[in-house]
Amino acid sequence: MTTDPGTDAETFPYEVCGRTLTCRYMTDAQRLMLRRLVGQWQQADERQDEEEMKRRFEEMNIKTLTVIESLIVDPGDVAFLEEQMLLGKVKLKDLRPIIAGGTTEDPAPPEDDQPPKPRKAASKAPKKPVKKTVARASRVKK
């Protein structure tokens, strides 16, 4: 993890098409807002006809791509990325991890109809020997 010299924001590397991009992290506030927005856009989709849904989907993708490009430090990397997307070598889904800080997105929630995973057994570390204190009998001077 390094820092962006322009803003001191922490950065992380992300590899796409053999090129390593330097990316900034979204703030927690931005990530929360984006999650809310995606939820809103998806809800709007359910209420629209097919044409409107396509339009909203396209708008959402453009917005997501804009966000991703905002996180890439080097404008040269942005230009490279756009070129690769035009060539069909990179899809938006390949770039989504950038929003999540380079990791895979939130794991799927656990299935409610599956048994819980067994807890890991406590490690059997060797017990420290207990110091035995032996009460010394007091010497009684007779």
Binding site: D28, A29, Q30, L32, M33
Partner: protein, 176 residues
């Protein structure tokens, strides 16, 4: 405008000024506000941007890229929002909300038994009820300790304490 003190100090709809604009927050009930605080008690993200109304969210998101100090500004605005929503000093409202969150089954359980539902009662009214619950179950010493505890600026976050809250804290300390 209705000249009503309670309407003014305990508005049903809260707005905050942030980045030069006015933002409307969606919280109404105690559950909205306490839940918003509880989402992240250190950053108050559940209040801001969590409670910004849907119609303004995209605008705030677009603006967030232009301000590197947004996290700090959001925190301060969230603190102000809590104070406005509670009709009290935000530190008092935050501390009491957090205290209730920590013992939620206890507080919520007793107030439910009294017919006070967090999802139906306004935030300031619920805080009044929770405060009285603590107050009536303590003796004089407990009440003084409670009042002092509620006025202490939270250690877990940067605070813009109002002059009024600082004065109250000093008065409470001096009374001790």
């Amino acid at each position: 405008m209705i000249p009503n003190l309670l309407h003014v100090t305990r508005p049903s709809q809260v707005t905050v000024t942030l980045l030069g604009r006015t933002w409307l927050l969606s919280g109404h009930s105690a559950a909205d506000w306490i839940g918003g605080i509880g989402w992240d008690v250190d950053t108050l993200l559940g209040v801001l941007p969590g409670m910004v109304v849907a119609q303004q969210l995209e605008e705030l998101f677009d603006l967030s890229w232009e301000h590197e100090d947004l996290s700090t500004r959001l925190l301060y605005a969230a603190q102000a929002a809590i104070g406005k929503a509670a009709g009290r000093d935000w530190i008092w409202a935050y501390n009491l909300s957090r205290k209730c969150l920590q013992g939620w089954p206890y507080f919520n359980g007793i107030l439910l038994g009294r017919g006070i539902r967090a999802d139906q009662v306004a935030y300031p009214d619920w805080l009044d009820a929770a405060y009285m619950l603590l107050w009536e179950r303590g003796d004089e010493s407990d009440r003084k300790a409670l009042d002092f505890e509620l006025l202490l600026p939270p250690k877990n976050m940067s605070v813009v304490a109002s002059a009024a809250s600082s004065r109250k804290m000093l008065e409470a300390f001096a009374a001790d």
